[in-house]
Amino acid sequence: MKHTISVLVENKFGALNRVAAMFSARGFNLESIAIGETEDPGISRMTIVTRGDDKIIGQIVKQLNRLIDTLKVVDLTDALKIERELALISIGYHKSNRSEIISLCEIFKANVIDITPKAITVEIVGTPDKIESAIKIFLPFGIREIARSGVVALSRNEPVIVKTSKETNGTLTT
């Protein structure tokens, strides 16, 4: 199952590398990872999308917590959350289909942000599902390039805190 995990880490040299290296060293799947500064410039938030059964996700959460630079790990999968991803999609066009592409953009609330004699570049923000369906729609026109930011997410409620030794006094949820 797909999981969205939000991780607060010390904003310092090598923190991203430590997280990414942990995933590769332990053979965990890493679908996307997005990182940026938070309201506290000393702390970065990583949003990680990964897949695995309960045992693997449990290990991922614990291994993330174990990293010294990690301050908090929250599995947002079952939480009320807001998830967004940004994609830039460059689409080849002809005079004949240019207006069709632009009207499709309206449906997806995508913005045309660049146009050259050969390509239209659209910017689209939404859930990963929405971006997937937009890509499917644009595919027949000839997609030249795609850049996706990876998902960023926030909990709508109080963060669902994954209980680990950093948060509790020694028990794990079982």
């Binding site: 040299f13 430590r18 060293a25 174990r66 509790t168 020694g170």
Partner: protein, 572 residues
């Protein structure tokens, strides 16, 4: 030197910090990036620098020292190749959770990333094999970083920490303040166990009919051997240990079942397979312990005490996890459990298994065998020696035949299985331990891998007892080739290749002996124990094709053990 607020050079701050940490030995090797540090070291008298002959040796020495004494082992090496040579030793310390701090020189900060002479990205290289690593770019960060490094290495689940020291930072100066208190906001290891979980564990143990303590190295690291011994003896619960756990419980106690797992005793593995409550203390259900996961201790209620939450449910799903310090949790468990389960029948059943399939090796044919040498060492040292084994067959025989009665006497490369570990690790142990004889025991394969450190032992006149078990084979690999790879002894026969070890050793100025006769073993061990003017060496030429039994083939259930060779005639 007074320290409070005085302006000092980076290299001086370095030694002031080591002094504050109580470091008495550093194992090191100088080089270009460390020139300033070695300049200052020249006049330092609060610690002793041991010059090694290869940086890998330094890391194993630091680990041997750490594991024998419980203190943090310290390594100092230069940048580039000096740093990369420490990688195996760091990985070894990481796998076995040993507290060492490795200081590596680095090229000056303005050259980092320029492919400068003797530059290596040692931070990147060691990130997956250290508990944490630091690059000190700012002289003001030097003292706090060293404090953090020692704290991280020693606290929680211990492990290696690396500190990279650029050359220019060692030449800068700043006011030196030593702050005792460390606060790392992302690092708060759990110490106390959850009291409800402990109560629940106590009640499960009390109602158990066939309880078993499965004990790992964590018990030794948290200094909980006394608590464990009291707990097991007062509640009549049998104890089996991992390789790392040997010595946590007296090996010659009737309640001791010896080691479990691949080359564990038959009765320990039967007890694991048949127990109804398993109490795992500071162990991590490693694949060499569990064998086939699906059939590992299938009917037991599993209590898992570990300071590292990632160990819980990693390999085996447990019923009752308690995260925290083993010593602390055991003490609480002792208080909670005011009665003992009735284990008389269970102990009798285990004794039955013990009689059914005891440890056994051939005797009376006049041939020398490793098991006999080890038994004689145990006897002659009255169970009171530090034994640092290497990796392979002899390592398993050490685990089976030497009865370790106290913690920190059995030191071995358990997790990583690093051949060449024994000699340098034993040297490190011998620097730390003066009241017991220290033995390095290697096979002829591993002995060659860090043989240069004979020089370190000889030069420092360390009273180290160096034992070489020479069967002219990479014996454990040979064993698997015989059993599972069609008897194709591919590149494991060293009989044509081995040098004359006695001559090699003597060239280092170390007295040596050699025998293939069982009758001479006692005399040799006596001589080794009587000689304390420096290292002494004995080579035991043992039967070439012996195998370690019992054995659980890889991937099999630990209840299904191979007891002996199926085709013994081939090798008579």
């Amino acid at each position: 030197m007074s320290t409070k607020g005085q302006t000092l050079l980076g290299a001086e701050i370095f030694f002031e910090c080591l002094k504050k940490e109580g470091v008495d030995y550093i194992f090191g090797y100088p080089g270009g990036a460390l020139l300033k540090i070695y300049e200052k070291l020249y006049d330092v008298d609060h610690l002793k620098h041991i010059l090694v002959r290869h940086e890998q040796g330094a890391t194993h020495m630091a680990e041997g020292y750490a594991r024998a004494t419980g203190k943090v082992g310290v390594v100092l090496v230069t940048s580039g190749p000096g740093a990369t040579n420490t990688v195996t030793g760091i990985a070894n310390a990481y796998m076995d959770s040993s507290p060492i701090v490795v200081f590596t020189g680095q090229v000056p900060t303005h050259l980092i990333g320029n492919d400068a002479f003797q530059e290596a990205d040692i931070l990147g290289i060691t990130r997956p094999i250290t508990k944490y690593n630091f690059l000190v770019k700012d002289i003001k960060e030097l003292a706090p970083t060293i404090r953090k490094a020692f704290y991280l290495a020693k606290s929680g689940r211990p492990g290696p920490v690396l500190v990279d020291l650029p050359k220019d930072v060692m030449n800068q100066s700043c006011a030196f303040h030593f702050q005792d208190k460390v606060d790392i906001r992302g690092y708060k290891p759990t110490f106390q166990g959850h009291s409800k979980q402990i109560k629940k564990a106590a009640s499960k143990i009390l109602h158990a009919k066939r309880p078993l303590l499965y004990v790992g190295g964590g018990v030794i690291m948290s200094e909980a051997a006394k608590e464990l011994t009291f707990f097991a003896q007062s509640k009549n619960i049998p104890v089996t240990t991992t390789l790392q756990g040997l010595g946590a419980f007296p090996g010659d106690e009737p309640l001791s079942l010896g080691m479990l797992g691949m080359h564990g005793t038959y009765w320990a593995n039967q007890a694991v397979s048949n127990c109804d409550v398993m109490i795992s203390l500071g162990a991590r259900f490693d694949d060499r312990v569990t064998g086939k996961l699906e059939t590992f201790s299938p009917n037991s209620y599993k209590i898992h005490v570990d300071i590292d939450p990632t160990n819980i449910d990693k390999n085996i799903l447990v019923d009752l996890p308690i995260v925290g310090d083993v010593k602390h949790i055991l003490s609480e468990l002792i208080v909670e459990l005011n009665d003992a389960p009735d284990t008389k029948e269970w102990l009798a059943q285990i004794d039955g298994w013990r009689k059914e399939c005891p440890l056994h090796y051939e005797t009376g044919d006049g041939k020398l065998r490793t098991e006999y040498v080890l038994e004689r060492i145990t006897e002659k040292t009255n169970h009171n020696a530090v034994v640092v084994g290497d990796v392979g067959q002899h390592q398993m025989w050490i685990a089976q035949y030497i009865k370790f009665n106290s913690p920190r006497t059995q030191i071995s490369s358990a997790g990583l299985g690093t051949m060449g570990f024994s000699l340098p690790a034993a040297i490190g142990a011998a620097f730390g331990i003066k009241d017991k004889p220290v033995f390095s025991i290697s096979g002829d394969g591993g002995f060659m891998m860090n043989i240069q450190e004979l020089n370190t032992a000889a030069y420092n006149k360390l009273p180290l007892k160096i034992v070489l078990i020479n069967n002219s084979y990479l014996g454990m690999v040979r064993q698997w080739q015989e059993l599972f790879h069609d008897q194709k002894y591919s590149f494991t026969n060293l009989s044509e290749m081995n040098p004359e070890y006695q001559k090699v050793v003597e060239s280092f100025g170390i007295p040596s002996m050699s025998t293939d006769n069982p009758d001479e073993v006692d005399g040799i061990i006596d001589k080794m124990l009587a000689y304390n003017d420096g290292p002494i060496f004995a080579e035991f030429k043992v039967v070439k094709e012996d195998m370690v039994f019992p054995m659980v083939p890889a991937g099999a259930s630990i209840s299904d053990m191979m007891i002996k060779r199926l085709n013994p005639k081939t090798f008579v």
